[in-house]
Subunit: 423 residues, 2 copies
């Protein structure tokens, strides 16, 4: 007897989350165990409101899936809704289960970060408790790269390619000028410095960034000023890469925008802005040269035109593996990436990267954070160790050839035609 599959997305957008969705849809459409493929729009919050579309009727050819794979952002949209634990309030879980039962869902896959993996885990536990046969799986996604038990997360490689490329180009641009300057580049990462630290790969190519500051390593303003002054002895321009959320030696965020002070989002995370602005002011005051601040904003997570081919292809594989695992009866797991090898070819000096997708218990991932190993950052914050370079570089060596029309990227979108729930 066939069952249906429901997939949804949560958390922040990335260039690869739709690639994972494409992988799930591909396997689900091909499987004779699955009847309809449904998509929950606006995450778990949307599913609770019945915002569910019939994906099977909207994906009509393999080209649709290829276009979806190359589309940044979240084709099923997202929510920032934090589910309570079933112990605290079983009601939303019961409501979800009722909706899933009405749609004859046998497979539920949630794509997202550690908060989303928590939701997938709770759904797994709740359906088990109720004796329901719904396989609940998680697929990882976050440009923060802060999920444990996976070598890295889909979306990270593309964000890294954008950030490292942009820093290289910013440095070349600024080098046109002859007077000393500092350029502060603020990179996403509230608590995780992976992306900011990873930008250090750009140094092997273009020479920048010269200084890297991340949340995992206490920030010392005096040391920062001294480093800039020292670098200015031999460099006209100094590029500083800094994460959104850096902390002083007292463990407190170095700078919280007064307007946002005390504000937290639904997940209890502080809403930060301004670590870049803080360093900009610091350098202006203490060094006195021209200082420019560049914030990559959403472009760093959504620039499909420069997405990493390794990333988008692996993200699709993650989706395929997640769906296949669910079909084979697995539940309560996340499809994780295991790096098999990334050795350098001695002749070409290129990495020969290989990975496979493996299941890990959602319990090991849900709500947990993996910090960047600070020992990969040079003690003076000027770059990465060889170990760090060898970790980051293989994730973004090729650019995905994405569909274009009249010189502009073409993106896939679903029609928001919600299905009627059977009574």
């Amino acid at each position: 007897m066939t069952k249906n599959l429901l997939v949804a997305q949560s958390g922040g957008p990335s260039a690869a989350i739709n690639a994972t969705l494409a992988g799930i849809i591909e396997v689900a459409i091909e499987s004779d165990k699955i009847g309809r493929v449904y998509g929950g729009c606006f995450g778990i919050e949307g599913i609770l409101k019945g915002h569910i579309i019939d994906i099977s009727s909207q994906i009509t050819c393999p080209r649709d899936l290829d276009l979806l794979q190359c589309t940044p952002g979240m084709a099923l949209h997202t929510c920032r809704f934090k589910m309570p634990t079933p112990k605290k309030d079983p009601e939303p879980y019961q409501k979800l289960v009722d909706i899933l039962t009405k749609l004859n869902i046998g497979y539920f896959i949630y794509i997202g970060g550690n908060d989303s993996m928590e939701t997938a885990l709770q759904m797994h536990l709740f359906t088990r408790e109720q004796g329901l046969d719904i396989k609940c799986m998680g697929c990882p996604k976050t440009i923060d790269n802060d999920l444990p038990h996976t070598d890295h997360t889909p979306g990270f490689g593309s964000a890294l390619k954008y950030v490292a490329t942009s820093i290289t180009e910013i440095f070349t641009d600024i080098n046109s000028y002859g007077s000393k300057s500092v350029c502060v580049v603020e990179i996403m990462g509230r608590d995780a410095g992976w992306l900011t630290a990873g930008s250090g790969i750009a140094k092997i190519c273009g020479g920048a960034p010269h200084l890297i500051y991340i949340p995992e390593k206490p920030f010392d303003p005096e040391e920062c000023v001294a480093s800039v002054k020292e670098l200015h002895k031999t460099h006209t321009h100094v590029i500083i890469a800094v994460s959104e959320g850096i902390r002083g030696k007292d463990g407190k965020y170095v700078f919280i925008d007064p307007l946002a002070e005390g504000k937290v989002d639904a997940f209890g995370h502080a809403q930060l802005s301004g670590s870049g602005r803080y360093i900009e002011s610091l350098v202006k005051k203490e060094v006195g040269c021209r200082v420019r601040l560049i914030e990559f904003s959403v472009l760093q997570r959504g620039s499909g035109h420069i997405a990493s081919a390794e990333d988008l292809d692996e993200a699709r594989d993650v989706g395929k593996a997640g769906a296949k695992l669910a079909l084979s009866g697995v539940s309560g797991k996340m499809a994780a990436i295991e790096r098999i090898s990334a050795n350098k070819n001695q002749t070409t000096d290129e990495y020969e990267y290989k990975s496979k997708i493996v299941p890990v218990d959602l319990e090991l991932v849900a709500g947990k954070v993996r910090q960047f190993p600070v020992e990969w950052l040079l003690p003076d914050n000027t770059g990465l160790t060889q170990e760090g370079l060898d970790y980051f570089l293989p994730l973004m060596t090729s650019r995905k050839d994405v569909p274009m029309c009249k010189g502009l990227p073409v993106h896939f979108s679903f029609e928001k035609k919600y299905v009627e729930l059977p009574q």
Copy 2:
């Protein structure tokens, strides 16, 4: 008897100014009329200080030129030094001529915007007056696209491709969310709205930008708020593209950052920041939804990884033509682009763009500005007319395949080894 050639760059960087440099060097190296090819570092200001390199010794193979063509920024660096008129102060001109004579320069080519064309013109007139045989030519460059008597300027097509692509990707990213919002995108252009208006091409692909505000058309805050409210009736997210410098009905800049107020650069241009910040505040206050501000900063002029192939190839042709004209005895001219045709192929719906390079009198260009024809913008600021689309679209249909190493762009740079001037 062979003479030498001196080339320099001025004004702001772009993705294509080095392509023009590559074209000049290519022709100069191949010509038996030219001995050495010299490069003035840091524009006319650097030449006055004797900061001149021997390019001939640093360009050793055609691959160097191809790499230079694809390198954004300014390989010879720039200055923001405003030459006085020779009438006011002939001294710097006399000094320049002395340096050029010592180096046996017979050909002087200056790459830049309208201020640089003024310098090239004055050099032409001054050398004529002194009876010196130095051919002085200008090659256009500016992402502002505001030079007259050329269909467009090298560098503009690549900036357009970056801006339009980024707006498409920002819109897709923001569409992941379900609550109403506005995103203000601030685009370079102090007095010229070409680049901001041109971003309207992205609408035919992704649907954004929804509103466009440029310096050439008076900005009405009430109308802007009304437009956003009207668009929000049918659109969850509204993207506003705004030039750095927009003016109210009184002709004054709508917003000048108080910190920068009254500050002008060496050319007497107001140093602006904040038209985006102004609209952000306006919409927050009067519409009340979530508002995000994104500034493309230097990335819009220096993103070689997404440079337009049409732009980089044409920029190189401009350089080649400039050098060939000088070699054939022409002086006091700028190598301009003339659009021959850009008809749409009825079968493929693609533009078949053709152009040629023609000389125009520097007098017609120097210090002059070409304004964007406001009639190409729809009266309600929501997009471009077909005439506007037909002008902009052919300039950025293909992406230049630029050299990469380990997934990052590779850039050419000259060694700053200054030649010793003969006494």
